[in-house]
Protein backbone atom coordinates (compact mmCIF):
# COMPACT_ATOMS: atom_id res chain seq x y z
CA UNK A 1 0.00 0.00 0.00
CA UNK A 2 1.50 3.28 -1.07
CA UNK A 3 -0.07 6.66 -0.59
CA UNK A 4 0.71 10.34 -0.81
CA UNK A 5 0.05 13.55 1.04
CA UNK A 6 -1.26 16.61 -0.79
CA UNK A 7 -1.09 19.82 1.24
CA UNK A 8 -3.04 23.07 0.90
CA UNK A 9 -5.79 21.81 -1.36
CA UNK A 10 -8.86 23.90 -2.11
CA UNK A 11 -11.55 22.55 -4.42
CA UNK A 12 -11.74 18.93 -5.59
CA UNK A 13 -11.92 20.20 -9.19
CA UNK A 14 -8.35 21.45 -8.91
CA UNK A 15 -6.94 18.76 -6.66
CA UNK A 16 -3.40 17.61 -7.28
CA UNK A 17 -2.70 14.52 -9.37
CA UNK A 18 -0.46 12.68 -6.92
CA UNK A 19 0.61 10.05 -9.43
CA UNK A 20 2.85 12.54 -11.26
CA UNK A 21 6.59 12.00 -11.06
CA UNK A 22 9.47 13.46 -13.02
CA UNK A 23 9.87 12.96 -16.78
CA UNK A 24 6.14 12.49 -17.29
CA UNK A 25 6.18 9.27 -15.29
CA UNK A 26 3.29 8.00 -13.20
CA UNK A 27 3.54 6.33 -9.81
CA UNK A 28 0.23 4.78 -8.84
CA UNK A 29 -0.97 5.57 -5.34
CA UNK A 30 -3.39 3.37 -3.42
CA UNK A 31 -4.70 6.26 -1.35
CA UNK A 32 -4.31 10.02 -0.99
CA UNK A 33 -4.50 12.18 2.11
CA UNK A 34 -5.41 15.79 1.30
CA UNK A 35 -5.34 18.77 3.64
CA UNK A 36 -7.03 22.16 3.40
CA UNK A 37 -6.31 25.34 5.31
CA UNK A 38 -10.01 26.19 5.41
CA UNK A 39 -12.18 24.93 8.25
CA UNK A 40 -14.72 22.35 7.19
CA UNK A 41 -17.50 24.98 7.48
CA UNK A 42 -15.73 27.42 5.17
CA UNK A 43 -14.81 24.63 2.79
CA UNK A 44 -18.41 23.44 2.60
CA UNK A 45 -19.62 26.99 1.90
CA UNK A 46 -17.27 27.10 -1.11
CA UNK A 47 -18.21 23.62 -2.29
CA UNK A 48 -21.93 23.35 -1.66
CA UNK A 49 -22.43 20.90 -4.50
CA UNK A 50 -19.78 18.39 -3.35
CA UNK A 51 -21.07 15.53 -1.16
CA UNK A 52 -18.82 14.76 1.80
CA UNK A 53 -18.83 12.18 4.59
CA UNK A 54 -17.49 14.06 7.62
CA UNK A 55 -15.83 12.53 10.65
CA UNK A 56 -13.72 13.65 13.58
CA UNK A 57 -10.09 12.69 13.35
CA UNK A 58 -8.68 12.19 16.82
CA UNK A 59 -5.01 12.70 17.63
CA UNK A 60 -4.11 12.24 21.27
CA UNK A 61 -6.35 14.68 23.14
CA UNK A 62 -7.19 16.90 20.20
CA UNK A 63 -9.28 16.37 17.11
CA UNK A 64 -9.58 17.77 13.61
CA UNK A 65 -12.46 17.85 11.19
CA UNK A 66 -11.99 15.37 8.40
CA UNK A 67 -14.10 13.94 5.61
CA UNK A 68 -14.16 11.45 2.80
CA UNK A 69 -14.44 13.33 -0.47
CA UNK A 70 -14.34 11.51 -3.78
CA UNK A 71 -12.70 8.51 -2.05
CA UNK A 72 -9.88 10.54 -0.48
CA UNK A 73 -9.49 11.54 3.17
CA UNK A 74 -9.41 15.32 3.59
CA UNK A 75 -8.34 16.94 6.87
CA UNK A 76 -9.41 20.54 7.43
CA UNK A 77 -7.91 23.47 9.32
CA UNK A 78 -4.39 22.32 8.49
CA UNK A 79 -1.76 25.05 8.28
CA UNK A 80 0.91 23.35 6.20
CA UNK A 81 3.62 25.55 7.73
CA UNK A 82 2.90 24.09 11.18
CA UNK A 83 4.49 20.75 11.91
CA UNK A 84 1.87 19.87 14.54
CA UNK A 85 -0.90 20.34 11.97
CA UNK A 86 0.90 18.18 9.41
CA UNK A 87 1.60 15.60 12.10
CA UNK A 88 -2.07 15.49 13.14
CA UNK A 89 -3.26 15.15 9.54
CA UNK A 90 -0.89 12.28 8.83
CA UNK A 91 -1.93 10.51 12.06
CA UNK A 92 -5.57 10.79 10.99
CA UNK A 93 -4.65 9.37 7.60
CA UNK A 94 -2.69 6.54 9.21
CA UNK A 95 -5.69 5.60 11.34
CA UNK A 96 -8.13 5.69 8.45
CA UNK A 97 -6.01 3.94 5.85
CA UNK A 98 -4.28 1.61 8.35
CA UNK A 99 -1.04 2.80 6.84
CA UNK A 100 2.47 3.56 8.03
CA UNK A 101 3.54 7.19 8.30
CA UNK A 102 6.16 6.77 5.62
CA UNK A 103 3.54 5.50 3.17
CA UNK A 104 1.75 8.84 3.48
CA UNK A 105 4.41 11.46 4.08
CA UNK A 106 6.99 9.75 1.87
CA UNK A 107 5.54 11.51 -1.18
CA UNK A 108 4.28 15.05 -0.57
CA UNK A 109 2.68 17.28 -3.20
CA UNK A 110 1.92 21.00 -3.25
CA UNK A 111 0.67 23.11 -6.15
CA UNK A 112 1.02 26.86 -6.62
CA UNK A 113 1.34 27.92 -3.02
CA UNK A 114 0.70 31.64 -2.68
CA UNK A 115 0.56 33.87 0.36
CA UNK A 116 -2.83 35.14 1.47
CA UNK A 117 -1.48 38.69 1.62
CA UNK A 118 -0.83 39.03 -2.10
CA UNK A 119 -2.89 42.19 -2.64
CA UNK A 120 -0.92 44.25 -0.12
CA UNK A 121 2.52 43.28 -1.41
CA UNK A 122 4.82 44.53 -4.14
CA UNK A 123 6.03 41.96 -6.65
CA UNK A 124 9.39 41.79 -4.85
CA UNK A 125 7.81 41.33 -1.43
CA UNK A 126 5.35 38.76 -2.79
CA UNK A 127 8.25 36.60 -3.96
CA UNK A 128 9.91 36.95 -0.54
CA UNK A 129 6.69 35.93 1.24
CA UNK A 130 6.17 32.99 -1.08
CA UNK A 131 9.75 31.84 -0.54
CA UNK A 132 9.06 31.89 3.20
CA UNK A 133 5.88 29.92 2.57
CA UNK A 134 7.60 27.16 0.60
CA UNK A 135 10.54 26.88 2.97
CA UNK A 136 8.12 26.91 5.92
CA UNK A 137 6.13 24.02 4.47
CA UNK A 138 9.31 22.02 3.82
CA UNK A 139 10.46 22.57 7.40
CA UNK A 140 7.04 21.62 8.78
CA UNK A 141 6.96 18.41 6.72
CA UNK A 142 10.47 17.47 7.86
CA UNK A 143 9.62 18.17 11.50
CA UNK A 144 6.35 16.25 11.30
CA UNK A 145 8.11 13.33 9.68
CA UNK A 146 10.64 13.27 12.53
CA UNK A 147 7.82 13.32 15.07
CA UNK A 148 6.24 10.40 13.22
CA UNK A 149 9.49 8.43 13.35
CA UNK A 150 10.03 8.49 9.60
CA UNK A 151 13.57 8.04 8.33
CA UNK A 152 15.17 8.39 4.95
CA UNK A 153 14.17 10.67 2.09
CA UNK A 154 10.88 12.47 1.55
CA UNK A 155 9.93 13.25 -2.02
CA UNK A 156 8.54 16.77 -1.94
CA UNK A 157 6.89 17.53 -5.29
CA UNK A 158 6.05 21.10 -6.25
CA UNK A 159 3.86 22.02 -9.20
CA UNK A 160 4.65 25.57 -10.24
CA UNK A 161 5.48 27.25 -13.53
CA UNK A 162 9.14 28.14 -14.03
CA UNK A 163 8.02 31.64 -15.02
CA UNK A 164 5.43 32.13 -12.27
CA UNK A 165 5.63 35.82 -11.32
CA UNK A 166 4.72 34.89 -7.77
CA UNK A 167 7.81 32.74 -7.36
CA UNK A 168 10.09 32.18 -10.37
CA UNK A 169 12.00 28.92 -10.53
CA UNK A 170 15.29 30.28 -9.11
CA UNK A 171 13.48 31.65 -6.07
CA UNK A 172 11.49 28.45 -5.68
CA UNK A 173 14.65 26.35 -5.66
CA UNK A 174 16.30 28.72 -3.17
CA UNK A 175 13.25 28.42 -0.90
CA UNK A 176 13.25 24.63 -1.09
CA UNK A 177 16.96 24.56 -0.23
CA UNK A 178 16.31 26.89 2.69
CA UNK A 179 13.58 24.48 3.77
CA UNK A 180 16.06 21.62 3.94
CA UNK A 181 16.12 20.14 0.45
CA UNK A 182 19.37 18.36 -0.32
CA UNK A 183 18.66 18.00 -4.02
CA UNK A 184 16.16 19.67 -6.36
CA UNK A 185 15.30 18.45 -9.84
CA UNK A 186 13.09 20.03 -12.48
CA UNK A 187 12.39 18.22 -15.72
CA UNK A 188 11.70 19.72 -19.14
CA UNK A 189 8.11 18.52 -19.37
CA UNK A 190 5.35 21.13 -19.54
CA UNK A 191 1.92 20.34 -18.17
CA UNK A 192 -1.46 21.99 -18.54
CA UNK A 193 -3.78 21.77 -15.57
CA UNK A 194 -6.38 23.70 -13.61
CA UNK A 195 -5.19 25.89 -10.80
CA UNK A 196 -7.37 27.92 -8.47
CA UNK A 197 -6.98 31.29 -6.83
CA UNK A 198 -6.29 31.32 -3.11
CA UNK A 199 -9.98 31.62 -2.32
CA UNK A 200 -10.80 28.85 -4.77
CA UNK A 201 -13.51 31.03 -6.28
CA UNK A 202 -11.83 31.33 -9.66
CA UNK A 203 -9.63 28.97 -11.63
CA UNK A 204 -7.78 28.85 -14.89
CA UNK A 205 -5.95 26.26 -16.97
CA UNK A 206 -2.27 27.18 -16.83
CA UNK A 207 1.08 25.81 -17.92
CA UNK A 208 3.10 24.18 -15.16
CA UNK A 209 6.41 22.56 -14.32
CA UNK A 210 7.08 19.76 -11.88
CA UNK A 211 9.90 20.05 -9.35
CA UNK A 212 11.16 17.40 -6.94
CA UNK A 213 12.94 18.39 -3.75
CA UNK A 214 14.55 15.60 -1.75
CA UNK A 215 14.16 16.16 1.96
CA UNK A 216 16.48 13.93 3.96
CA UNK A 217 15.84 13.12 7.59
Amino acid sequence: MKGALSLAECRPEFKVDCTLILNNGRDKKDFILRTALDSVAVWKSKNTEIPISPFQGKVNLTSKDAAIIENDVWVFGVDATKSQDVFAAVKIGMDYYKAKATDIIGDVYVKNLNTDHQDSLSKHDLIIENKKLYSGVCKAVLEAAKLLGVQGVINFYVISSNINHKIPVQDLHAALKDGGAEKIETDNIQYKMWSGSNSGQKAVIIKQNLHLASLKI
Binding site: Q118, I163, Q190, A203, I205, I206, K207
Partner: protein, 119 residues
Protein backbone atom coordinates in the same frame (compact mmCIF):
# COMPACT_ATOMS: atom_id res chain seq x y z
CA UNK B 1 -31.23 37.53 -17.15
CA UNK B 2 -28.04 35.55 -17.59
CA UNK B 3 -25.66 35.82 -20.49
CA UNK B 4 -22.91 33.53 -21.71
CA UNK B 5 -19.97 35.63 -22.81
CA UNK B 6 -16.58 34.53 -24.10
CA UNK B 7 -13.88 37.14 -23.95
CA UNK B 8 -10.17 37.69 -24.09
CA UNK B 9 -8.34 40.01 -21.76
CA UNK B 10 -4.93 41.22 -20.72
CA UNK B 11 -3.73 39.57 -17.53
CA UNK B 12 -1.75 41.69 -15.09
CA UNK B 13 1.44 40.28 -13.56
CA UNK B 14 -0.11 40.65 -10.14
CA UNK B 15 -3.41 38.95 -10.98
CA UNK B 16 -4.26 36.10 -8.62
CA UNK B 17 -4.88 34.05 -11.78
CA UNK B 18 -1.47 34.75 -13.28
CA UNK B 19 0.56 31.74 -12.25
CA UNK B 20 2.46 30.99 -15.45
CA UNK B 21 3.71 34.32 -16.72
CA UNK B 22 0.88 34.73 -19.19
CA UNK B 23 0.09 38.05 -20.86
CA UNK B 24 -3.56 37.28 -21.49
CA UNK B 25 -6.43 34.96 -20.72
CA UNK B 26 -9.45 33.64 -22.60
CA UNK B 27 -12.55 32.83 -20.59
CA UNK B 28 -16.16 31.83 -21.04
CA UNK B 29 -18.41 33.33 -18.37
CA UNK B 30 -21.98 33.31 -17.19
CA UNK B 31 -22.88 36.91 -16.44
CA UNK B 32 -25.87 38.40 -14.65
CA UNK B 33 -27.47 41.50 -16.16
CA UNK B 34 -30.94 42.81 -16.97
CA UNK B 35 -29.72 43.85 -20.39
CA UNK B 36 -26.55 43.44 -22.39
CA UNK B 37 -24.93 46.77 -21.39
CA UNK B 38 -25.48 45.90 -17.71
CA UNK B 39 -24.07 42.39 -18.26
CA UNK B 40 -20.98 43.80 -19.96
CA UNK B 41 -20.49 46.25 -17.09
CA UNK B 42 -20.76 43.38 -14.61
CA UNK B 43 -18.28 41.30 -16.59
CA UNK B 44 -15.84 44.21 -16.69
CA UNK B 45 -16.06 44.63 -12.92
CA UNK B 46 -15.73 40.89 -12.29
CA UNK B 47 -12.72 40.64 -14.61
CA UNK B 48 -10.97 43.71 -13.20
CA UNK B 49 -11.32 42.30 -9.69
CA UNK B 50 -9.09 39.47 -10.88
CA UNK B 51 -6.55 41.67 -12.64
CA UNK B 52 -8.01 41.06 -16.10
CA UNK B 53 -8.60 43.91 -18.57
CA UNK B 54 -11.04 42.60 -21.19
CA UNK B 55 -9.87 43.48 -24.69
CA UNK B 56 -12.32 41.69 -26.97
CA UNK B 57 -15.64 39.90 -26.82
CA UNK B 58 -15.47 36.68 -28.82
CA UNK B 59 -19.06 35.50 -28.39
CA UNK B 60 -22.10 36.67 -26.47
CA UNK B 61 -25.55 35.06 -26.18
CA UNK B 62 -28.49 35.10 -23.84
CA UNK B 63 -28.35 31.88 -21.83
CA UNK B 64 -32.09 31.16 -21.99
CA UNK B 65 -31.92 30.73 -25.76
CA UNK B 66 -28.49 29.10 -25.84
CA UNK B 67 -28.06 25.41 -26.65
CA UNK B 68 -24.99 23.82 -24.99
CA UNK B 69 -22.29 22.43 -27.27
CA UNK B 70 -19.22 20.28 -26.79
CA UNK B 71 -16.85 23.24 -26.89
CA UNK B 72 -14.82 24.11 -23.78
CA UNK B 73 -16.90 26.34 -21.55
CA UNK B 74 -20.13 25.70 -23.42
CA UNK B 75 -20.99 22.17 -22.28
CA UNK B 76 -24.14 21.43 -20.36
CA UNK B 77 -22.15 20.26 -17.33
CA UNK B 78 -19.90 23.31 -17.22
CA UNK B 79 -22.86 25.64 -17.53
CA UNK B 80 -24.81 23.77 -14.84
CA UNK B 81 -21.84 23.88 -12.46
CA UNK B 82 -21.30 27.61 -13.01
CA UNK B 83 -25.02 28.30 -12.62
CA UNK B 84 -24.96 26.67 -9.19
CA UNK B 85 -22.27 29.14 -8.16
CA UNK B 86 -23.87 32.15 -9.82
CA UNK B 87 -26.05 33.71 -7.12
CA UNK B 88 -28.56 36.50 -7.86
CA UNK B 89 -26.14 38.98 -6.31
CA UNK B 90 -23.14 37.62 -8.25
CA UNK B 91 -21.64 39.49 -11.15
CA UNK B 92 -20.32 36.51 -13.09
CA UNK B 93 -18.79 33.03 -12.95
CA UNK B 94 -16.33 31.43 -15.34
CA UNK B 95 -17.32 28.18 -17.02
CA UNK B 96 -13.85 27.91 -18.55
CA UNK B 97 -10.63 29.90 -18.52
CA UNK B 98 -7.22 29.29 -20.06
CA UNK B 99 -4.03 31.34 -19.89
CA UNK B 100 -2.23 32.45 -23.04
CA UNK B 101 0.83 30.37 -22.12
CA UNK B 102 -1.28 27.22 -21.83
CA UNK B 103 -3.30 27.95 -24.94
CA UNK B 104 -0.20 28.55 -27.05
CA UNK B 105 1.46 25.26 -26.14
CA UNK B 106 0.00 22.32 -28.04
CA UNK B 107 2.65 19.94 -26.76
CA UNK B 108 2.15 20.43 -23.04
CA UNK B 109 0.70 17.34 -21.38
CA UNK B 110 -2.85 17.75 -20.15
CA UNK B 111 -3.48 16.63 -16.58
CA UNK B 112 -7.01 16.41 -15.25
CA UNK B 113 -8.56 18.08 -18.27
CA UNK B 114 -10.16 14.90 -19.58
CA UNK B 115 -13.52 15.95 -18.16
CA UNK B 116 -13.36 19.01 -20.38
CA UNK B 117 -12.43 17.33 -23.63
CA UNK B 118 -14.61 14.27 -23.17
CA UNK B 119 -17.82 16.22 -22.83
Amino acid sequence: MTWIIEFKGDLSETSELNMDGSASIRAVSLVNGGDLPKALTNLLTYAKDSGISPSSIIRCEELSTFTPTLEDGYTSEEITTALRRLKPESLAEFTYAISSEAEADDEAIEIGLERESSK
